[in-house]
Amino acid sequence: MMNKLIVGRFVPKDSFVHRMDARAKVLLSIAYIFIIFEVTNWLGYLIMGLFTIAVTSLTKVSLKTYIQGIKPLIWLITFTVFIQMFFAPSGHVLWNYWIFKVTDIGLLNAVYVLVRFILIIMMSTVLTLTTSPLAIADALEYLMKPLLKIKFPVYEVSLMLSIALRFVPTLMDETERIMNAQRARGVDFANGGIIKRVKALVPILIPLFTNAMKRAIELGDAMEARGYQIDKPRSRYRILVWHRRDTMACLVFGLLLIILIIIKHFI
């Protein structure tokens, strides 16, 4: 369980995308969703597909890892594609049975939905595979800074984010130890009815909650003893640096958007 999280989805490599600033990657992965909205025809999808493959190859992470990212959603994708295919509201009818109707437009839309799903998942996976959770948290903190103007507690939220990220492995380790302790007492987590298995989680969560409260008191005292004060700005240990490569990546995305707008309106 521990290893699963430490590894997470982040694959440490030395690639162009890995070296990019986390803020740029967060912003561009959001921008990608809006850019894909500009795609309305097969040429647009072809360009987006080639662009996405080029970006994934820049990460130096194998294509297999990206395909694994699609796997958990395979049922949802299949489901959505089939709905699109069999319930098309318009187009030339190719096949008809009871409430199901396959039309040429429905088929085309189903293919577009499939491609769109895969591309979005692949690009989102680029962010999580090339950026450590801590770097993502730092980027989110930085991007939240404008909210200070509306008195949003950015520093407190980012502190909570850091604490949460710091304690996830500890808590997972603790969960494992509690589970082993309960197993030693004869608790069976793998067998029995659903209610029995759910009830077996109670003796895991109670010590977790109790320990969390004790830990909160201790850590709070330790922080205050070291001069921590709520509402005061904090200095940073990890500094994010925006490089020329980040500006370059933003320009490439801008260029892609222009090309797609031209294709949408003129081709």
Binding site: R9, S29, P72, Y112, I163
Partner: protein, 167 residues
Amino acid sequence: MNSEKNNDLKPTAKLVLMGLVAAMYVALTSSFGFGIVQFRMSEMFNHLAAFNKRYIVAVTLGVVIANSFQSPYGMIDVVVGSLQTLVMTSLAYFCTRKVKNTITKLTITTVISTLMMWVIAVEIMYMTKAPIAFWPTYGSLMVGELASMVLGGIIIYFISKRIDLTR
């Protein structure tokens, strides 16, 4: 645990506790994971908002972290998913504030959380540009959420018997 007066926690300790609950959300998400119909056992933490408003922020942060390195939809899911959780848990808190019975509290939270899945269905619909897929997607998401909230409700019910979650 009842001797641990949560209300007496210093502001810094309260802040730390929120971070730790967020970490517990992530830890449970990782352990029991995404499934075919978005079955997230950690969604049971939504029930906590019915006991103390502090957990609204804690669970929202948990969703931010879990989605930022686990969700296949990436940053859009971080923004939409966490805002949905924020609204959902806030609604659960306000609707259950005056409710004394734990089972009623948990039932209200389950209903709110299940119905609020429309936000995620709209997110998926817009991302895939598949408007006719809204209802089936909403249905499948509701099934997953209902399952996690009902099972989670049973767990939180037993925990609330041992730990005073309101204090």
